[in-house]
């Protein structure tokens, strides 16, 4: 995969993981997990806005915003007993938040498989992160298309 197409924050996160031994990669994921931001008040009172991520066995909810400047904001909530999912979510929040819509949509779908976690946590578990990324991109695409209005192509 060409690193040039990867947004700088995601590229940096990947480099951070790949620089570590397997066992330390788990601890870095735990650090990310602890850094997952709390929801802003306008959302913590509106769970109805969020989409449940079915592929994650813990109750995980995700919501994207596209502001007037075409910039994406990502919000994810996951319970403390799901630290791995929180870690995945936190990587994506730090890596995607503040990007433009086109940049988010250009993030390769296989990014979760490229950050050196398969051996540390098992490939099966990475599905949860792929699901989060897939849903975030789909929501962003839908918001872009619905705001493009009636005259839009496609």
């Amino acid at each position: 995969m060409n690193a040039d197409t990867l947004p700088p924050a995601l590229a940096e996160i990947r480099a951070e993981f790949l620089a570590l031994e397997q066992k330390e990669r788990l601890l870095l994921l735990l650090e990310f997990s602890n850094e997952l931001p709390d929801l802003p008040a306008r959302y913590s009172e509106h769970p109805d806005l969020f989409e449940r991520v079915e592929e994650c066995q813990a109750p995980v909810y995700l919501f994207t915003e596209v502001d007037d400047d075409n910039v994406v904001h990502l919000f994810v909530t996951a319970p403390p007993e799901a630290p791995t999912t929180r870690g995945f979510a936190s990587i994506l929040v730090q890596g995607l938040d503040g990007l433009r819509v086109e940049e988010v949509l250009a993030v390769p779908d296989d990014y979760p498989n490229t950050i050196g976690l398969a051996a540390a946590i098992s490939p099966l578990r990475l599905r949860g992160m792929s699901a989060l990324l897939g849903r975030a991109k789909r929501q962003v695409r839908e918001r872009r298309d619905s705001s493009a209005g009636a005259g839009s192509v496609r």
């Binding site: 735990l30 799901a82 791995t84 098992s122 099966l124 897939g134």
Partner: protein, 299 residues
């Protein structure tokens, strides 16, 4: 060298009470010579967020599976794992974990494939220990290396393979997945990652008894009478029956295997670990969709 068993009244009703310990028992016996506590979770980071003092971590995915073959590790790798975790062949091993002990039961089942004789579950698992406000620590557990022997894995008694299941059709077969998985309903939409099976449904003749029915709200096992009602009265399973249980990869069915074998005392229960991920994609095996068990087609 075994540590004494938990003689709680609740456990005395089960067929093999020595297979369970309560949180109170564990709190009283922590640190006792001959006892090793193992945490085995679905979530691979949960142990690192805090664990029962002195507990070691064994991860089903990364520790108990062969890295290249879809199978469990061999005797040599198991011995090495035990040596590193400070477990001797005669240690009393108490396993606990998240999700009502799904993954703890899975680890216990794998220990049983290697004939480790004294392996028990903490009734209620991690959640109950936490709910009672008992101690967790992030302090690293340092294990004294042991000389665990190399024991060949024995798959014959408690493990079933696809061909065993085909030959078994007509005898008690339990599907422990959710009703939606059993019936073959799918909640998929474009751009959603898919489960890795080609077909949805269940193995012909399998009865649907979701694994969670054996667990109470707090993750503990239901009392003996309720389990009898569920499996014996409800599903018509009797002593002497040859039973196979399955789920998606064998983890939830390990929980059911534990219940049928150790709590109800059935002698011939096998876990089909290939489960739906194999059966749902295998060539020339029949499936059934919808809520009814269906019948075995004569081949």
């Amino acid at each position: 060298m075994s540590v004494q068993v938990d003689t709680s009244d609740k456990f005395a009703e089960y067929a093999h009470p020595e297979r369970l310990v309560s949180t109170q028992w564990l709190a009283e016996h922590l640190g006792e010579p001959g006892l090793v506590v193992v945490e085995s979770d679905e979530d691979v980071l949960l142990y690192e967020t805090g664990h029962i003092p002195g507990a070691v971590k064994i991860d089903w995915h990364t520790d108990l599976n062969d890295p290249v073959e879809r199978d469990y590790i061999d005797g040599e790798a198991f011995a090495k794992l035990m040596q590193n975790k400070g477990i001797k062949r005669n240690s009393t091993v108490v396993i606990y974990g998240d999700k009502s002990n799904w993954w703890a039961a899975y680890a216990l089942w794998v220990f049983s494939l290697f004939g480790h004789s004294d392996v028990r579950l903490l009734d209620g698992g991690r959640a109950k220990w936490q709910a009672e406000g008992r101690e967790f620590t992030t302090e690293e557990t340092i294990s004294e290396p042991t000389d665990y022997p190399v024991v060949e894995r024995n798959d014959s008694g408690i493990r079933a393979f696809k061909d065993d299941v085909l030959a078994h059709l007509g005898k008690p077969l339990i599907d422990v997945r959710s009703p939606e998985e059993y019936s073959g309903e799918r909640t998929t939409a474009p751009a959603y990652p898919e489960e890795g099976t080609l077909r949805a449904g269940h193995i012909p003749t399998a009865q649907s008894i979701p694994w969670g029915k054996a667990a109470a709200e707090d993750g503990t096992f239901r009392p003996r009478a309720e389990l009898d009602a569920l499996y014996r009265d409800g599903a018509g399973i009797n002593d002497g029956d040859d039973v196979i249980a399955y789920c998606r990869i064998g983890e939830r069915s390990s929980h059911t295997w534990f219940v049928l074998t150790h709590l109800l005392g059935l002698d011939s229960v096998r876990n089909y670990d290939g489960s739906w991920t194999e059966w749902g994609s295998a060539v020339r095996v029949p499936i059934v969709t919808g809520p009814e068990p269906g019948t075995a087609r004569s081949r």
